[in-house]
């Protein structure tokens, strides 16, 4: 039986803790200075940044569960050389889920300005706003909590379950396919859950409702695309990190090339959805829809608006177009960091403008908070990786991945 154990290098642990502490210190400092500030915009700044990061990191981790489900259903053999990585990320979704729920509920129930209105989710107090009153059958704290909790619980459960089933396959009778087909059925169920949460309701509740009057039918699919391409980049970073530590001996350039293709293709897919949403609203020029882009494109955020396109479309297209660049570790690591940062900016652009208006910040607090999440990610995922073999031994498709050509 082929196994490969990974022990977390001390350096990685130290880095993880250091980042966690930097993030934690930022949060504490922010809690004191921003929440203690007399200026209400500082309170919003605190919550908006937490919301931005907790939702972003949760979504890119959930993408790892999705990729497992998609690969299982498509019976893809290519992923097996490094499947333990999305499994380890997916199995830690619950941590980010709890953080996100805590932040979301704190905002919905806690955040209030001097009038008692919610500065981020305006719909919590519709007042005499006819539109918000009309939406209140959906946009109300009860529904918000219900959908959020169910989504996070189901995602977390699937994330843990997929990893368990995968590890159970190692000790199953040789070439047994019982678990294999079971996981396919489970993946179908996950896709159903995913369609009703990530591809529809959850981004409406958590993000779109920040611009409480605005609506776009495409919105959730767009959020999905953004999270998915970042999620793939995250997997790639782990693969290359482990490769650099002489682990993951089954992974060849062919597998890395596949991930590069995914980053390339889904950067274009993201742009396709970005363009579909933007162009149709621009072309229709209906005030209740263009209001969303007004502040983002022509207002104080215009720099980020264009940076978003350059980082997430122009760079990946040109850098990843050629075959050699998709097989070069350095290029891939660089572009993966770019993509994750770019989509972090994309989420920033979805979440910040409405509550912050022209008072935007991208300063010590906004840049410090993500370290908290990155620290957790490093510590949790590396710890999970060390708990099981890195090789999905005895998986019916494992041998295909050994002779895989991208």
């Amino acid at each position: 039986m082929m196994t490969e154990r990974f022990t977390v290098p001390a350096k990685l642990k130290t880095t993880g803790f250091a980042l966690l502490i930097i993030g934690l210190l930022t949060l504490i400092a922010g809690g004191i200075t921003l929440l203690g500030s007399a200026n209400e915009i500082d309170h919003s700044r605190f919550w908006v940044s937490l919301l931005h990061n907790s939702v972003f990191f949760l979504f890119i981790c959930v993408a790892s569960i999705f990729i497992q489900a998609a690969a299982s259903l498509a019976q893809g053999g290519w992923i097996l050389a490094y499947k333990r990585i999305p499994e380890a990320i997916g199995a830690n979704v619950w941590i980010f889920g709890i953080i996100a729920l805590a932040v979301l509920f704190a905002i919905v129930f806690g955040a209030a300005d001097h009038n008692g209105h919610n500065p981020i989710y305006h719909w919590t107090h519709p007042g005499d706003d006819k539109i918000l009153q009309g939406k209140s059958a959906f946009l109300n704290p009860g529904m918000f909590v219900g959908f959020s909790v169910v989504a996070v619980v189901l995602w977390s459960w699937f994330g843990i379950k997929f990893r368990q089933r995968s590890i159970a396959q190692e000790t199953a009778p040789k070439n047994s396919t019982k678990i294999y087909w079971g996981v396919i059925a489970l993946s179908g169920a996950f896709l159903f859950v995913y369609a009703l949460t990530m591809m529809s309701t959850i981004p409406w509740f958590w993000i779109m409702s920040i611009d409480a009057h605005w609506f776009s039918t495409l919105f959730s699919w767009y959020v999905f695309a953004s999270a998915f391409v970042s999620g793939i980049s995250l997997i790639l970073l782990w693969v290359i990190y482990l490769k650099g530590k002489n682990a993951l001996k089954l992974v060849t350039k062919e597998h890395i090339h596949d991930l590069g293709k995914f980053m390339f293709a889904f950067s274009i897919f993201w742009t396709y959805l970005w363009f579909s949403q933007f162009m149709l609203i621009w072309y229709g020029n209906i005030p209740e829809e263009t209001t969303y882009f007004k502040i983002r494109m022509q207002g104080p955020y215009s720099f980020f608006f264009y940076a978003n396109i350059i980082i997430n479309l122009v760079l990946p297209i040109f850098i990843l177009m050629s075959r050699p660049s998709k097989r070069n570790y350095f290029t891939l690591v660089f572009i993966a960091f770019m993509i994750i940062f770019g989509h972090w900016i994309d989420f920033y652009m979805m979440i910040n403008p409405s509550p912050m208006q022209e008072n935007w910040f991208l300063n010590w607090f906004e840049l410090g908070v993500p370290f908290f999440f990155v620290g957790i990610l490093i510590l949790a995922v590396s710890n999970t990786l060390s708990k099981a073999s890195l090789i999905t031994e005895n998986h019916p498709l494992l041998k295909e991945t050994l002779v895989h050509i991208s």
């Binding site: 070439n175 609506f215 039918t217 495409l218 579909s276 041998k399 295909e400 050994l402 002779v403």
Partner: protein
């Protein structure tokens, strides 16, 4: 690593212990024989439909658009519905030939040739509708941005309708090239086997002097990859732009940002349904069960359940957003869709497109040929209704209640639609008689990996441990 290996969990895609020679023999047989009686019956029937279509169109051109049921309120009726429907059907061919090529999906080789042919014929049918909807069809060339003597009369480059002209003509050209380039080695095979002079001459011309040298193959592979790379964005762009025809407007029910991806998913959905309809017939009539196996049918049914569910999520999203937007007109538009005078069309769409494909979650039904055949037709009916719902029910209740109306097609519209079926099947019958319905060269790529004969020999590899296998793979030259 030069080890030919495929896991035992995958079922063989070519059954009947075929060898390379047998593959050529089986696929060329229908071309080299006289067609069956059934073929003649089908062909003549298609010609009759085509004839009726030509007559209907002639009638419309001669007497004018007034012979159609469209009116000032419902300016787009069956014509544009049929146009979108046919274009959508075309998408599966390109998806199979291009996107599945990029994804290295071996099973595509069993079905790609017929699917690509279907694409081309479907786009040909689609193109008729906007052209004859122009009424004064002799002015149709006005849509082309040609330098002209008409003064400042140029097409409106800001219009999605014009983008459609470019998108569809480009798509048609690239699809045709892709299809034809794949046919070249197969034509050469038929040429080399030809017993009559005329056949040798004609297939010789069609095969561009293909000799099957290594250089020939190298160029062939390179071209396939380039064309696949070109077709992939093209196939997405075509239905995206078709969706722009509606979504760039400010008409409630049409102006939705989800339209582009959802139209593409719907197009793939209907296209795969049509591929199923055709291939289930082809495999039966030409006895191709060894090449178009239950595994192929199941794989396509999986695509159908996936795309059908994507479309379902989009329908529900639209419906929800109409309410959520709190825009009065959006809400009314959807109320009329669901409960208005065309309620039957909406519910037909919902049942056929969202509910019916869910049966394909069950493996037994995915592998049931009769069920698949019936469902593929149901899906195509549903996808026709989708376009009808989007176009007609939206237009019938416009902003001014005094101009509300009910639209029904007249016989020339019906005849036109039937005529495109005639065109489609006439082309398809000719194709299936004179062209290899399965890509001979391409299916041979998969034979030694997925052929049942070769898969049996892989049991030795499956029995190995991972270490042994890796050892062998690294030393196989």
């Amino acid at each position: 690593m030069h080890l030919k290996y495929e896991s035992f969990v995958r079922e063989p895609l070519i059954t009947g212990d075929k060898t390379y020679a047998q593959v050529t023999e089986d696929i060329c047989k229908p071309i080299e024989q006289k067609p069956s009686k059934l073929w003649y019956v089908g062909f003549v029937l298609s010609l009759l439909f085509l004839g009726f279509g030509v007559f209907s169109v002639f009638w419309e051109v001669y007497w004018g658009l007034g012979t159609w049921g469209i009116n000032r309120t419902v300016g787009w009726g069956w014509d544009i519905t049929n146009f979108v429907w046919w274009v959508g059907i075309g998408h599966a061919g390109t998806l199979i030939s291009a996107i599945l090529l990029l994804f290295r999906q071996g099973w595509r080789t069993g079905v790609n040739r017929a699917a690509e042919a279907m694409t081309i014929f479907a786009v040909m049918c689609a193109g008729q509708f906007p052209i004859f909807h122009m009424g004064r069809v002799w002015n149709a060339f006005y849509v082309l941005p040609l330098p002209n003597t008409r003064g400042p009369l140029w097409p409106n480059f800001n219009s999605a309708l014009l983008w459609d002209v470019f998108a569809i003509s480009t798509y048609f050209t690239v699809s045709l090239l892709f299809w034809y380039s794949g046919l070249v080695p197969d034509f050469a095979t038929i040429r080399d086997r030809a017993k009559t002079k005329l056949r040798k001459r004609l297939y010789g011309l069609a095969s561009f002097g293909w000799t099957g040298t290594a250089k020939n193959w190298q160029r062939f592979e390179a071209l396939s990859l380039v064309l696949a790379g070109l077709s992939t964005p093209l196939v997405l762009s075509v239905h995206t732009i078709v969706s722009f025809d509606f979504a760039t407007s400010v008409i409630p029910g049409w102006h939705a940002t989800i339209f582009p991806p959802y139209f593409v998913a719907g197009a793939v959905f209907s296209g795969f349904a049509m591929v199923q309809t055709l291939l289930i017939l082809v495999r039966k009539i030409y006895k191709m069960e060894d090449y178009i196996t239950l595994g192929h049918i199941e794989a396509m049914n999986k695509v159908i359940v996936l795309t059908g569910s994507i479309v379902g999520v989009a329908y529900l999203t639209e419906l929800f957003m109409a309410w959520y937007s709190q825009v009065h007109f959006e809400q009314e538009a959807f109320k009329y869709r669901v409960f208005g005078p065309y309620w039957w069309a909406y519910w037909a769409m919902m049942t056929c497109n969202v509910v019916s494909p869910q049966f394909f979650w069950f493996k037994k039904l995915r592998r049931n040929i009769v069920f698949t055949f019936i469902l593929s037709i149901v899906v195509n009916i549903g996808m026709w209704f989708e376009r009808f719902v989007i176009i007609v029910t939206t237009l019938a209740n416009d902003f001014l209640p005094s101009s509300w109306t009910y639209y029904s097609p007249t016989w020339p519209e019906l005849g036109f639609y039937l005529g495109t079926f005639g065109l489609f099947f006439t082309c398809f019958f000719l194709f299936s008689k004179y062209f290899p319905v399965i890509a001979i060269a391409e299916i041979k790529f998969t034979l030694k990996v997925s052929g049942d004969k070769y898969k049996r020999d892989m049991q030795r590899l499956d029995a190995m441990t991972t270490e042994e296998f890796l050892e062998e793979a690294n030393h196989a030259h």
